[in-house]
C-alpha cells in the first residue's frame, strides 16, 4: 500500500476529511454527554455527522430579502477560513498568527451571515456577534504570553520548546484558562453562546437551511477541531504530541466541555462579555510571574 507523502495535496485532503469526521464525532459525543447529564437518552454519537449530511439533501431556499451573493459567499468564507486554519495549524505546523486571523475572520463571517439575510432575528444575532467580539481579548493575551515565553509563534517551534522545557501550562496556567474559555465559547450549547441563543430563535443561523447550512456545519466542525487542537498543542504540547495522545485528550476535553455546557445556563449578553473579560484580565496577571 502506498501512503501519500506528507505535504502533498492528497494527504492534506485526507487529513481534512479525517478531521471533519473526528470533529463531528466529538460534537456528537458532546451532545450525548449533555443529554445523559440532563437525564435524557440523547441522540447517537454519529448524530452530528448525520445531521450535516442530512442537510445536503434538503431543499435550499434563499430568502428574497437576502443580499446576494453575500448570503452564500459569507458561509463559504466561514468554512474556507477553517480549512485554511486546519491546513496551517494541525497539518503544516505553521505560524499561529494565521490561526488568529482565521478566528477573527470567523467572527466577521458570523456577523455577515446574520446581516445578509435581512431577518430581524439574524440581525440580532449578528449584533451580539459584534458585542461578543470582546472574546478576542484572550486571543491577544494568550499569544502574547506564549511569544514572550518562547520567543516564537511558529507552532512547530512552540512544540519543540515544550518538548525541551516542559509544557507551557505549568508556566502560563491563567492564559491556558483564558484560552479554554475561548474554546468553550465556540462549542454548541455553551453558556457564552449569546450569538445563537434560543431567545432569538437560532441567532444568526435562523435563515440558513439546506445545503448552505451543511457547508456552515462543515466549517464549524473543523473550527471546533482546530481550536481544540490549538489549545492542546500550545499549552500541553510537551505531553501530548503524538496523534493518538492528542485524539484521546481531545475526547477528554470534550467530555469536560460537555459537563460545563450541561450544567451552566445561558448567561445574559452583557454578563457573558463581562465574564470573558475577567478571564482575559486574569490571563494578563500571568505576566507578573512569567
Amino acid at each position: 500500500m502506498i501512503y501519500p507523502a506528507a505535504g502533498s495535496m492528497l494527504y492534506m485532503l485526507l487529513e481534512l476529511i479525517t478531521a471533519f469526521l473526528f470533529g463531528g464525532l466529538l460534537l456528537g459525543l458532546h451532545r450525548k454527554i449533555i443529554a445523559r447529564i440532563q437525564g435524557r437518552p440523547g441522540p447517537p454519537i454519529v448524530q452530528h455527522l448525520i445531521h450535516t449530511f442530512k442537510f445536503y439533501i434538503k431543499e435550499l431556499t434563499i430568502p428574497e430579502t437576502s443580499s446576494m451573493p453575500l448570503y452564500v459567499a459569507i458561509v463559504l468564507a466561514l468554512s474556507a477560513v477553517w480549512v485554511l486554519a486546519f491546513l496551517v495549524g494541525p497539518v503544516l505546523l505553521g505560524p499561529f498568527s494565521i490561526i488568529i486571523m482565521c478566528y477573527a475572520v470567523h467572527k466577521v463571517s458570523e456577523h455577515g451571515i446574520g446581516l445578509a439575510s435581512g431577518s430581524p432575528y439574524t440581525k440580532m444575532g449578528s449584533t451580539r456577534a459584534v458585542l461578543s467580539a470582546t472574546a478576542e481579548m484572550p486571543l491577544i493575551v494568550a499569544p502574547a504570553l506564549v511569544f514572550f515565553k518562547t520567543h516564537t509563534l511558529v507552532l512547530s517551534d512552540i512544540i519543540n520548546y515544550q518538548i525541551l522545557h516542559g509544557s507551557l501550562f505549568m508556566d502560563l496556567p491563567l492564559a491556558a484558562i483564558a484560552t479554554f474559555i475561548l474554546l468553550l465559547s465556540k462549542t454548541p450549547f455553551n453558556p457564552f453562546g449569546i450569538v445563537w441563543g434560543k431567545d432569538i430563535v437560532s441567532g444568526y443561523k435562523t435563515e440558513h437551511f439546506g445545503v448552505i447550512r451543511g457547508v456552515m456545519m462543515f466549517g464549524e466542525i473543523l473550527g471546533f477541531f482546530v481550536l481544540l487542537w490549538c489549545f492542546l498543542t500550545i499549552f500541553f504540547g510537551g505531553i501530548f504530541n503524538t496523534p493518538l495522545t492528542i485524539m484521546l485528550t481531545m475526547i477528554g476535553v470534550t467530555i469536560i466541555l460537555g459537563f460545563i455546557c450541561a450544567l451552566t445556563p445561558m448567561i445574559a449578553p452583557y454578563h457573558s462579555v463581562m465574564i470573558q473579560w475577567i478571564f482575559a484580565l486574569l490571563a494578563l496577571i500571568n505576566v507578573l510571574f512569567i
Binding site: 502533498s8 481534512l16 463559504l76 485554511l84 496551517v88 466549517g219
Partner: protein, 73 residues
Amino acid sequence: MKIQKQTKNRILAVLTTLPILIGIILNTPLVISVAILTFFVPPSTYYLGLVLMALPKSKKEEDEREKITFTGY
C-alpha cells in the same frame, strides 16, 4: 442564451472540483495546494450539495417540489 439552474449548478460543481483533482494528480507545490484547498473545498461541497439536493428521489417528493415554497417575507 439562458442556462437552466440545474445545468449551471452541475457546471459549477465540475469547475470547483476540477482544481482539487488536478492538484492531486499533478502534485502541486505546498503553497499552491493550500490555496487550492482553501478556495475550492467549500464551494465544491456547496455545489455538489446543490446537485445532490436536486436529484429526484421519488415520485412523491418530485410532486412536492412542484408546489410553490415559502420564499421570504
